[in-house]
């Protein structure tokens, strides 16, 4: 009896989340829409070593936009584009909602951080204004926890994923042939989906070493088990 009541209470919730959850676990109706968990992990936290991103706790509208951008080719990726194309709009919406409902990355607000010039932390917290590069946290929020649905969290993502994205916005210039080496063709940028072109010039103007360092900085923030009290200020 008690169990029945419990189930009855739970049913509407299950019905609500089932669609997105099913897609995560088993994929979409179209078999080309593979289960998300095979790359993004059973907990939605991604696979750091492979550079598959965390989706857990990302803003719903952000995920919807990324899936649409993969579909339209504004964000190019050989793995994700066929999957995004195989998901219909309803499926994309419900899987985005399901991921948004998983726990967000949790970062403790530390004391004021004093980064060393030339470090990844410096780019993250101070930027490189002589090249018009704002500190990442200015838009992505203190500790890179993300702001609204346009500025996704950088905390909680792996170094490889962040580095790959910066390189995707940047592309790589051609390397002319040397005496013993062959010419390497330029790789054009594969991401063109930054709102108002806010990211591309930043990626272009960062050096490869800076990209690596700043990606490692955010990956190194880890995740705290202790909940953060949102009534407290996060200091810059």
């Amino acid at each position: 009896m008690r169990n029945t009541v419990f189930l009855a209470l739970l049913l509407p919730l299950l019905g609500h989340a089932a669609d997105g959850e099913t897609i995560m676990q088993r994929g979409g109706n179209n078999p080309a829409a593979m289960p998300c968990i095979s790359c993004h992990g059973t907990d939605g936290k991604g696979m750091a070593a492979a550079g598959y991103p965390r989706l857990a706790g990302l803003p719903e509208a952000y995920i919807v936009k990324q899936l649409a951008d993969f579909k339209a080719g504004r964000r190019q990726n050989p793995l994700m584009q066929p999957i995004a194309q195989a998901l219909d709009n309803d499926e994309a919406a419900s899987v985005a909602k399901a991921y948004a409902e998983l726990p967000k990355v949790n970062i403790q607000a530390g004391p004021v951080e004093r980064p060393q010039p030339g470090s990844g932390a410096w780019i993250a917290l101070r930027g490189a204004w002589e090249r018009n590069i704002p500190e990442c946290t200015l838009c992505h929020g203190p500790a890179g926890v993300g702001v609204g649905s346009a500025f996704p969290p950088l905390a909680g993502q792996s170094a490889l994923y962040i580095e790959n994205q910066l390189n995707a916005w940047r592309g790589t210039p051609a390397i002319p042939a040397g005496r013993k080496s062959k010419a390497v063709a330029a790789v054009p940028p594969s991401r063109h989906n930054d709102p108002n072109g806010l990211m591309q010039h930043i990626a272009v103007d960062l050096s490869a070493a800076e990209i690596k360092a700043v990606a490692e900085y955010f990956a190194g923030l880890g995740e705290s088990k202790e909940a953060f009290d949102e009534s407290q200020h996060r200091l810059r």
């Binding site: 004021v112 204004w129 018009n132 609204g148 346009a150 806010l198 996060r234 200091l235």
Partner: protein
């Protein structure tokens, strides 16, 4: 003896008079019209370069520089009793007060003390900062001898290391673009806002927060600068916007777009000018806004007189 008494009386009268005039006039701390115009930078010229962080000494002075920098970036969190809205110094002084044409501290600090006609006295740098707290932060000025202003002064002094004293430097203030021919247009400004600004500052200019921490400042409404702040002038906001917005993509908007969007932003209600005269918008306009650059305080827009406060 008689003569001394007379002189004393005269002095008392003079001092009393000056004080009376001051409190009556509510000194206008934000007025910069008495400072010489910052010269334009020649193409080959470099802006003044403030010292690098690595040059902050590891001693009591260095500690105070760092404390000032922390308050500068986290004003609401570290000086909450003096900040009435959700602004931080660094919102208008990009790159921690280092960036040219974003009112850099290295160009401001060496220009004070400066005489200002409007309050008929010599204003110190500390008084200038008190103006920021009163108007831009819609709060109350920290006492002149407070730890907060001592730290902020130390930070500004350090940033000005090597800058000439009393010499207007290129990059000071916001280097305002000339007004567009045919005037600014608020409706055109809304189109610029919707396209370029909404993503960070929100549809209603409300800005965006993470928890209680402001990430993108409010551009109008209760969390923004008040009607007495320099930024309420369309010409001033146009300068800031043209050089610094969108963040990291400064100098991509045209002068006209900067003026239009500045007019749109400053055609919205914001906290009252704390110098409000006799509760009257018209009297306040006459005394403080009529000859203060281009502004919409007390002007009727869409059938509503601006300057009601919020």
């Amino acid at each position: 003896m008689k003569k001394t008494a007379f002189h004393l009386l005269l002095l008392t009268f003079a001092v009393g008079h000056a004080q009376g005039a001051d409190s009556l006039r509510n000194p206008r701390f934000d007025d910069q019209t008495q400072l010489p115009k910052a010269p334009a930078k020649t193409p080959s010229q470099r802006y003044f370069q403030p010292p690098a962080d690595t040059e902050i000494p590891n001693n009591a002075f260095g500690d105070q520089v760092r404390r000032g920098m922390d308050i500068f970036m986290n004003t609401k969190a570290l000086a909450p009793e003096y900040v009435g809205n959700e602004m931080n110094c660094v919102n208008c002084h990009i790159d921690r007060g280092r960036k040219a044409n974003s009112a850099p501290l290295w160009a401001a600090y060496p220009m004070y003390p400066a005489y200002r006609k409007k309050n008929n006295k010599v204003n110190t740098y500390v008084e200038r900062m008190q103006g920021c707290f009163q108007f831009s932060m819609n709060g109350k000025p920290p006492p002149a001898d407070s730890e907060i202003l001592a730290a902020l002064t130390t930070y500004a002094y350090w940033l000005s290391t090597g800058a000439p004293t009393g010499k207007a430097l290129p990059g000071r203030g916001f280097d305002e673009p000339p007004p567009p021919s045919g005037g600014y247009d608020i409706a055109r400004g809304k189109a610029v806002y919707d396209k370029q600004c909404v993503i960070c500052h929100g549809e209603n200019g409300e800005g965006r927060k993470v928890g209680v921490t402001t990430v993108f400042p409010a551009l109008w409404g209760k969390d923004s600068y008040n009607w007495g702040a320099g930024m309420h002038r369309i010409n001033t906001a146009a300068g800031f916007i043209q050089h610094n917005m969108p963040l990291g993509r400064g100098e991509t908007l045209s002068d006209r777009e900067a003026w239009d969007v500045a007019a749109y932003i400053n055609s919205h209600e914001r906290p009252q000018d704390p110098r409000l005269v006799n509760g009257s918008i018209d009297e306040t306009r006459k005394r403080y806004h009529a000859d203060d650059g281009v502004n919409l305080y007390g002007v009727e827009i869409n059938g509503k007189k601006l300057g009601q406060g919020i």
